[in-house]
């Protein structure tokens, strides 16, 4: 059976964010019923599936209900060609993904075709997905995941083991290589769900900031109407301004959030969107799309460069979902700065 050893590693992200008051919510990591053969676990023995197959698949009952339906449907279709037709049918009926969400952060790595996945939480804190691809078969696979996982609680989504792909009988979903788009799609969807949950948790602690992105999606259309105004604001700046009056609304939000979360001793937020004004990704957003950030904070101590960047990205995730295109980040600790 294929090994998915990379699968749990992406969750190490969660450690710094665990709020001490809620250990139980994330304890499922240790009591998980996900079974991986090659990882020495300190968890209780994985659940045996009722069929005595040696592969120890996650029992189908554990999967989100819609996903179970989809699996059963595929199992009932025996002929491979018909399976493809079914797959393509799903893809055809997938809701289109707005171009503004076709960002690097939403792109699935390791696909020969281009696949984007967007995730947000609805008002009940369930994760909702949207996806698109230029390849019809990949779009079908994406649609399958979107239909199967959307509207479900984050924990349920996180528990899904990619093993279920076997049950579909679609061969290309099975190879565990890094080029397995299906596996990577699922991983990305799970990672985004986790990040959303963490963000929401954080948000609900400090009042008013756990904005459910539902509101944001309505706001983005508002924002694009306000395009010209904020566009003008953005272009009137000329580069590095520590003067906060030079920033537009997004710039201000970024500054506030970083100040609140990281208590930096130095913080520079520079809107460089004008440098990217020609890009496809910029059109349709509110003009504030590219920022340079320079942050000196104790929060970065003990964290690798990658972890520091991840921290900043996760704090600004909402912005990234709603038109922020790219960040250039310099993240230092106070001691690193003094050493100069």
């Amino acid at each position: 059976m294929a090994s998915y050893s990379k699968f749990p590693i992406c969750f190490h992200l969660s450690k710094p964010f665990l709020s001490p008051s809620k250990p139980s919510k994330f304890s499922f990591f240790h009591n998980t019923s996900i079974s991986f053969q090659n990882i020495p676990t300190k968890s209780p023995p994985p659940l045996q599936s009722s069929s005595s197959s040696s592969t120890q698949l996650q029992p189908i009952e554990e999967l989100p209900p819609k996903l179970q339906e989809i699996i059963k449907l595929f199992q009932s279709v025996e002929e491979p060609k018909a399976k493809y037709e079914q797959l393509m049918f799903y893809g055809k009926n997938l809701n289109p993904l707005d171009t503004q969400f076709k960002t690097k952060e939403n792109k699935v790595e390791g696909c020969v075709s281009q696949v984007w996945v967007r995730a947000y939480l609805d008002k009940d804190k369930n994760v909702v997905y949207q996806a698109d691809s230029d390849s019809v078969l990949t779009k079908g696979l994406a649609a399958l995941l979107v239909n199967g996982l959307s509207g479900r609680p984050v924990q349920e989504v996180l528990r899904v083991s990619p093993d279920f792909a076997v049950l579909l009988g679609l061969q290309q979903s099975l190879t565990p290589s890094r080029n397995n788009g299906f596996l990577n799609m699922l991983k990305l969807m799970q990672r985004k769900a986790l990040e959303l949950l963490i963000e929401a948790e954080k948000g609900s602690e400090s009042s008013g900031n756990g904005q459910i992105v539902n509101d944001n999606s309505e706001n983005t259309s508002l924002d694009s109407k306000v395009d010209e105004n904020s566009g003008a604001v953005a272009s009137s700046q000329n580069g590095s301004e520590e003067n906060s009056s030079g920033l537009g609304s997004r710039g201000m939000r970024i500054k506030e959030k970083l100040e609140r979360e990281l208590s930096p001793i130095e913080l520079e937020v520079e809107d460089v969107s004008y440098q990217h004004a020609g890009h496809a990704g910029v059109r349709g957003s509110d003009g504030e799309t590219h920022f340079n950030l320079r942050i000196v904070s104790k929060e970065f101590e003990g964290k690798s460069l990658v972890k520091r960047h991840r921290l900043v990205y996760s704090l600004l995730d909402e912005e990234l979902q709603s038109g922020l295109h790219a960040l250039s980040i310099v993240a230092k600790t106070p001691s690193e700065v003094e050493a100069k």
């Binding site: 493809y84 020969v112 075709s113 019809v136 078969l137 990949t138």
Partner: protein, 459 residues
């Protein structure tokens, strides 16, 4: 239809004591009568080269996903004949031993065979001396060798390196790295109206600032062939060197480094019916002699002290550590096999197949084939990269594999800049070798048409 089936033999009578590479006639002698019967069979039209050689390739005789395998991904890697498989097995069974240092019988035998393989490579590409052949892991490593060894010690700020936008990533990235370190500048030649690198432009770009020209011989995407002799003449006129990426040419046609007068030439064994894990760099002796080592370690040294070491002469200077001995010998066996058929014969057959493939592909509606249209002046290699309107190449490749057992490749084929210039993210590619047949092409086209109707019916 019945015809002669002459099974190509492995060549056990090859004497290991061949002294010089120019005595190619010595080991070709035995092959002549075999080649003659092959020629006869093929010329009389009884059976094609593909049909004749297929039995030598065990891997081709299998089913995948319920259909007969049709392997059309040879530009990615070629299949190996039994002769090569046997030589690998024989090496490990009979005389595996570390080379160059041992006194004992096995070690001497292994060394002899290893060095014989080097001579075979030299003879195969008509190098004047086997010391001009450096064994590497593959062509990519060979290019890196030139970049780090020759490049770092010869390039200065503002020196120019000319490449084409159709180069394989392995011919671009090492030079980007070295250019960054040395301050040299990379200049790229774009395509002309035939979708071939613009040779006239290239000629114009060559100036006294040019220190190196890096070009492919045959493009793995466009199927085009560049006039290397001319390019070398223009480059040498300004004192520039030429590095030829011959990965797609050495396996398919006669390549003569002295005729081309190339300074450096690289190729990979696995594309020419040899095992993976071995490739080679050809470098003119006078160049290799001036080059500092690439990787350091055993084998490439002369004397080692605590504070410094002295280095061996080329090619050993560039072969640190225990080499891929069995694989080199396997490559030698592959060369024997290919020589037994004759590279010219292989080339002629593949030209026919190339034209057949192109013609047949053109008949598929809404298809766009990249590269030049074949004509009397323009020859295409036996490969076609293409896209079909409104169908993603990955979908095509997946369906062809799953439903028809046809193996092609989809993606950027390690040529992202080229694809960007062509305006696409990816393309599908079918590439042939001498063991493919017209039937393979027919099968492919039929399956492709089925694939296209399947996806179109869904729109």
């Amino acid at each position: 239809m019945e015809g002669l089936v002459v099974k190509l033999p492995s060549f056990p009578f090859l004497s290991p004591n061949i002294s010089s590479s120019s005595s190619s006639s010595t080991f070709r002698l035995g092959f002549r009568r075999f080649s003659a019967s092959i020629s006869a069979a093929v010329n009389e039209g009884f059976v094609s080269l593909g049909q004749l050689t297929r039995p030598d390739f065990p891997i081709l005789h299998q089913e995948v996903n319920g259909s007969k395998l049709v392997y059309l991904d040879n530009a990615a890697t070629s299949q190996k004949p039994t002769a090569v498989l046997k030589s690998l097995q024989n090496y490990y069974e009979a005389y595996n031993s570390n080379v160059h240092r041992g006194i004992h019988y096995l070690s001497a035998k292994a060394t002899d065979e290893y060095e014989l393989a080097r001579k075979k490579v030299a003879a195969f590409i008509n190098a004047s001396d086997s010391a001009e052949i450096v064994f590497t892991r593959n062509a990519t490593e060979a290019i890196n060798l030139v970049a780090y060894s020759w490049g770092l010690s010869n390039l200065k700020p503002r020196d120019e390196i000319i490449l084409t936008i159709a180069e394989h990533h392995s011919a671009i990235v090492p030079w980007q790295i070295v250019a960054q370190k040395t301050g040299a500048i990379l200049k790229f030649v774009s395509l002309d109206e035939n979708e071939v690198p613009d040779v006239e432009k290239l000629r114009e770009m060559i100036s006294t600032s040019t220190k190196l020209v890096v070009v492919h011989h045959v493009s793995n995407v466009l199927g085009s062939v560049l006039p290397i002799e001319d390019i070398v003449i223009w480059a040498h006129a300004v004192g520039a060197k030429v590095l030829v990426d011959a990965c797609q040419s050495v396996p398919h046609m006669v390549v003569d480094v002295q005729g081309l007068d190339a300074d450096f030439l690289v190729a990979s064994s696995h594309k020419m019916c040899g095992p993976t894990g071995i490739g080679f760099l050809f470098g003119k002796s006078n160049l290799l002699l001036t080059m500092p080592p690439f990787l350091g370690g055993g084998e490439m040294i002369s004397d080692v002290f605590l504070d410094h070491s002295t280095y061996a002469e080329p090619p050993s200077r560039f072969e640190a550590g225990t080499p891929a001995i069995g694989e080199a010998i396997g490559l030698g066996a592959a060369i024997d096999y290919l020589s037994g058929i004759g590279m010219q014969k292989i080339h002629d057959y593949e030209m026919e197949l190339a034209n057949y493939l192109y013609e047949k592909l053109c008949s598929v509606p809404n298809i766009r084939i990249y590269g030049p249209k074949p004509s009397d002046d323009i020859h295409r290699a036996a490969l076609c990269s293409f896209n079909i309107e409104n169908i993603h190449p990955t979908d095509i490749a997946t369906f062809l594999d799953q439903q028809h057992g046809v193996a092609i490749r989809s993606g950027h084929h390690c040529a992202q800049p080229l694809h960007r210039r062509l305006g696409v993210n990816a393309s599908a590619r079918a590439s042939l070798h001498f063991y493919n047949t017209e039937e393979d092409v027919d099968n492919f086209i039929q399956s492709l048409n089925d694939t296209v109707s399947f996806f179109n019916s869904f729109k």
